[in-house]
Symmetry: C2
Subunit: 164 residues, 2 copies
DNA sequence: GCCAATGCGTCAACATTGCTGCCATAATCG
DNA sequence: CGATTATGGCAGCAATGTTGACGCATTGGC
């Protein structure tokens, strides 16, 4: 009455399934960032500059503190990156009206052009993946990614262009 | 006969949808790597060391060239990281039997222990997100992530522990 | 109106992680 | 035997993150 073949081990499958998820995340992120990285390198910029340009483009008029909260880096690290972008004319600062201490950030036309150039490939890549996977898959993709985000960051992340 | 309210713009929605995908990817990856990064910092190591430990643990006996192909960095960059891990006793090298030029990599018991410690939180995070999202969502997650990977890398990525 | 807290910037020093370029060794292949 | 492959080492440079300390303007509470 013994089955000679070992029964599929659910624990092993689970481990395998999780590791596949981890690896897919790594591979996808690796290839997702490769294209803009090339463009940035030509300009003497790095991935951090892209992140700043992206989120400032997404939230025009955002203060520095909001950017820090998104990127989760120190203000010294951001300051170096931001300073370079401002000196290079990609980003503009305006003093806050409600609070004059704030520096409200926005892209210059030159910055907006670079943002489009950098994000274009990524948008296309996501669009292709979405189209190929179908609407239900996209929904699942979003659900799982949201679940991967720290619980206390989820609301902020989903707010996106924080109009709300 | 004019509807005073603007019709929902499908192009805008699409753009918004794609940007949300881009951002979810950023946020998820940010939080996904934060935990192991802390542990690594205590040991004087960085994220690159985790990647090496992870993939060597996953593919015991792999040659350096296979690691390079996964990580997509130069051998000089890898050499520094790998050298440190070997000197610190996390990774062991054995000469290849088929090709004596190859250095086949594997984790030492100490390396395997670190791998478990580093990946444990990530596995738990993925497990929680999977459980919360449901099996169909997990399927969609995998489909979309796979679609984000460069076409000529997909097969290799899905091979995982490359037993095949 | 004083005074602490906030928002932001800066200087300095350091480590990690990429890159390019060059050279060396050993083994394998044709 | 000569070319290619697999790997390693060294030098130098840039980007990106860290901690720590300090400065300056503004804001808000008492």
């Amino acid at each position: 009455m013994n089955d000679p073949r070992p029964v599929a081990n659910p624990l092993f499958l689970r481990e395998e399934e999780l590791r596949q998820g981890i690896e897919l995340l790594f591979y996808a992120y690796r290839d997702f960032t490769a294209e803009p990285d090339k463009i940035l390198a030509e300009l003497g910029l790095g991935r951090a500059h892209h992140r700043v340009i992206y989120f400032v483009g997404r939230n025009p008029g955002m203060p520095v503190s909001a950017l820090l909260d998104i990127l989760k880096i120190t203000k010294q690290s951001l300051s170096r990156v931001l300073g370079k972008l401002i000196r290079a004319g990609f980003i503009q600062q305006k003093a806050g009206t409600r609070d004059a201490r704030q520096r409200l950030l926005e892209l210059t036309p030159k910055g907006a052009a670079l943002e489009r150039r950098l994000t274009e490939g990524q948008r296309r890549r996501v669009a292709t993946a979405y189209r190929g996977a179908g609407a239900d898959a996209v929904d699942g993709f979003r659900k799982v990614l949201t679940g991967l985000i720290d619980e206390n960051e989820r609301l902020k992340a989903l707010a996106g262009g924080s109009r709300g």
